[in-house]
């Protein structure tokens, strides 16, 4: 199971907020089973035909196994702990600008309890034909055998769109999130993709900052037999400047695009120059 499937039952924390409400509707259109939403004080109401309850504990009556958190940044840690305590096994945090100390604690608390954390500040996970949790636009997907993992949002859609237009389709698309600390690394996702029978080819969309891509290259060398194609953004970014994402920053020579491209090339992974070029290397 690549994060979500037909048995995924999602509760949305903050379902009546702008983001929560909009993306709940989109997820339902995509086929996701959204079984409940949490907004304290609104128990008994419904939104997009989804029952609203006051707490995660009450939401557990609807037997969810995943949660999407769409509450403002100051309340994310509390919401995540509530979800962990309630017992869901996948938590996706949509919210941007969560302090990284909060994310660090959420991540470790979650992983000690075998809870998978996705995000914060990423577009979620989408499996065409099964389910999606998050905010990726429904219309760009076609079911297929290409798995995509990305540190970006819109750029992911751009690349997924180009893959779809090129005649391929997607098995699973995962957005890791643009923060310095997020729940999943490329290595985590590669493990899942390598074992996923639906996946034949893998696309990694990396960016400057950190060493996520370098570690992925090592892992590919030792453990991945499937075809991997990469794209790295931020080649033209000046050092020390935060390029939108808190995680996309070159610090004292660490996290440069050159280093990442070199790492991928050295293990036989082709790195596309432009987003549109990615499909070329999939054949």
């Amino acid at each position: 199971m690549a994060y979500v499937d037909e048995n995924t039952r999602v509760v949305v924390q903050g379902i009546t907020g702008h983001q929560g409400s909009f993306h709940t509707a989109e997820m339902i259109k995509f086929g996701t089973k959204v079984v409940a939403g949490v907004t304290p004080g609104k128990k008994g109401e419904k939104i997009h035909d989804v029952p609203i309850v006051n707490s995660m504990r009450e939401a557990m009556d609807y037997e969810p196994n995943a949660s999407m958190i769409a509450v403002p940044a100051p309340f994310v840690k509390d919401a995540a702990y509530e979800a962990i305590d309630a017992g869901v096994k996948l938590i996706y945090i949509l919210t941007e600008k969560v302090p990284f100390h909060d994310t660090m604690e959420i991540f470790h608390q979650a992983s000690l309890r075998s809870v998978t954390l996705l995000g914060p500040n990423g577009p979620g996970v989408t499996r065409p034909g099964y389910s999606k949790i998050g905010i990726m636009p429904n219309q760009i997907f076609r079911k297929g055998d290409v798995a995509v993992a990305s540190r970006s949002g819109t750029l992911t859609y751009e690349i997924v769109d180009s893959i779809t237009r090129a005649g391929y389709g997607e098995s699973t698309v995962v957005g890791l999130g643009g923060d310095p600390v997020v729940g999943l690394t490329f290595v985590d996702v590669l493990k899942v993709f390598e074992n996923d029978p639906d996946t034949k080819r893998i696309v990694l969309v990396g960016e400057i900052g950190g060493s996520n891509e370098e570690k992925a290259a090592e892992y590919i060398r030792d453990h991945v037999k499937k075809k991997v194609v990469a794209y790295i953004t931020g080649r033209s970014a000046p050092p020390g400047k935060r390029m939108g994402h808190a995680g996309a920053i070159i610090e004292k020579g660490v996290g440069t695009a050159e280093s990442k491209i070199k790492a991928f090339n050295s293990v036989g992974v082709k790195v596309a120059d432009y987003p549109d070029d990615v499909p070329k290397y999939l054949g």
């Binding site: 909009f22 940044a73 100051p74 969560v98 302090p99 990284f100 100390h101 660090m104 604690e105 991540f107 470790h108 608390q109 000690l112 905010i135 990726m136 636009p137 219309q139 760009i140 990305s150 540190r151 970006s152 949002g153 819109t154 750029l155 992911t156 859609y157 751009e158 769109d161 643009g178 310095p180 600390v181 969309v205 960016e207 400057i208 950190g210 060493s211 996520n212 570690k215 794209y231 953004t233 931020g234 080649r235 033209s236 970014a237 000046p238 020390g240 400047k241 935060r242 390029m243 939108g244 994402h245 808190a246 995680g247 996309a248 004292k252 695009a257 120059d273 432009y274 987003p275 549109d276």
Partner: protein, 368 residues
């Protein structure tokens, strides 16, 4: 967000980390009477202040007044000195290095220490440095400090001081939401006390809502970047001539990269974010126009951000600001066709793919 030395030292002091006695002045009249030799330290967010003449040592009342007067209002490597820290001189016996930061690959805090302090940690040989990851759920516990203290070869008495400093420093790291807390040098004085002779604190910008008392203007940001920040945009000035507006940090970066690979020179990074408001697009144009580009590229992949909304924004901005520069637009995704129609009325033919738009804007910027 970088804190000034004196702010970091105030935090240290109230957290139980010993720092030299001192006070801050903004004008000469705030100087207290001279009592003993002091360091006169300009408060600027810059490494290597000492070498640039930003730190002086006053041995008498005249020097104190002279040096403070010289430093206040002066510029050091382009930065104006608005505040000066007057601080008691300490008798240094030995200098250590101590810091706590985030280790991104481990997603854990990392403590770094060395008995070779007072210099850049990058210049110290690896075998003279000790690094210890902290499990954030176990938290900091004394066994970590004991191991580090033994590595540093501290005596029993000093070790006690050090353990207390490290424990308190970890509390600062967590409590103040720091990306980095650094004491360099951490000093043993000739009197046998351990004291933080400098402070470097970098706070996580995303956490500032819970530290409202702290508000610093980033000296590395340009005035236009600061204006954009205050308006809620992720905006970076670059040194080219093509203005760029895109949606999503990754797509914006990819746009800059593609321009660069095509020998285009981007003037800026501007991420519209996930928006559905015409005004946000208009203000984005306002910012980009202030950077005086030769041409402007708008690259939108519509999802949450709808193509027609962006198109309306472009049309309004073109009229409102009477834009003369060529505008190249790429629209793809949600409400693409509607957007294209809107732009057509403003005389703009929108591309549906990214690469042709890149090529077009590079050509136009060269001709412009």
């Amino acid at each position: 967000m970088n804190l000034y030395e004196y702010m970091g030292k105030n935090i240290f002091r109230s957290s139980g980390i010993p720092v030299p006695d001192g006070y801050v002045v903004e004008k000469l009249s705030e100087l207290k009477p001279f009592e003993k030799p002091v360091a006169v330290k300009s408060q600027i967010l810059l490494g290597g202040r000492g070498k640039s003449g930003g730190i002086k040592f006053a041995r008498n009342a005249d020097e104190l007044k002279d040096f403070t007067g010289q430093l206040l209002g002066s510029k050091i490597r382009g930065l104006e000195v608005k505040k000066v820290l007057i601080e008691e001189m300490i008798n240094i016996d030995h200098e250590f290095y101590l810091s706590i930061a985030l280790s991104r690959p481990d997603r854990r805090p990392i403590i770094i220490a060395s008995a070779q302090g007072g210099v850049e940690i990058e210049s110290v040989p690896e075998d003279k440095i000790i690094k210890r990851l902290v499990d954030p759920i176990l938290g900091y516990s004394d066994y970590l400090g004991r191991e580090i203290s033994q590595f540093l070869g501290l005596s029993k008495d000093i070790s006690k001081d050090f353990m207390s400093i490290l424990r308190n420093l970890y509390n600062v790291y967590v409590g103040e939401d720091c990306e980095l807390v650094e004491i360099n040098p951490l000093v043993i004085t000739k009197e046998g006390k351990m004291i933080a002779a400098d402070s470097k604190i970098v706070m996580d910008t995303d956490s500032m809502y819970r530290h409202r008392d702290i508000n610093i203007t980033d000296p590395e940001k340009t005035p236009l970047e600061l204006e954009a920040q205050s308006k809620g945009y992720a905006f970076v000035e670059l040194d080219g001539n093509i203005g760029v507006i895109a949606n999503g940090a990754g797509l914006t970066m990819a746009t800059l990269d593609a321009l660069t690979l095509h020998k285009g020179r981007p003037r800026n990074f501007l991420d519209l974010g996930g928006t559905d408001s015409v005004d946000i697009v208009i203000t984005a144009f306002d910012l980009v126009l202030k950077a005086k580009p030769s041409a402007i590229l708008v690259n939108i992949f519509g999802g949450v951000t709808k193509c027609d909304t962006v198109a309306s924004g472009i049309a309004s901005a073109k009229e409102k600001f009477n834009i003369k520069q060529p505008i190249v637009v790429r629209l793809s995704g949600v409400h693409e066709e509607e957007g294209r129609e809107i732009l057509k009325k403003s005389g703009i033919d929108a591309y549906s793919q990214m690469m042709p738009a890149i090529e077009a804007v590079v050509n136009k910027a060269v001709t412009a």
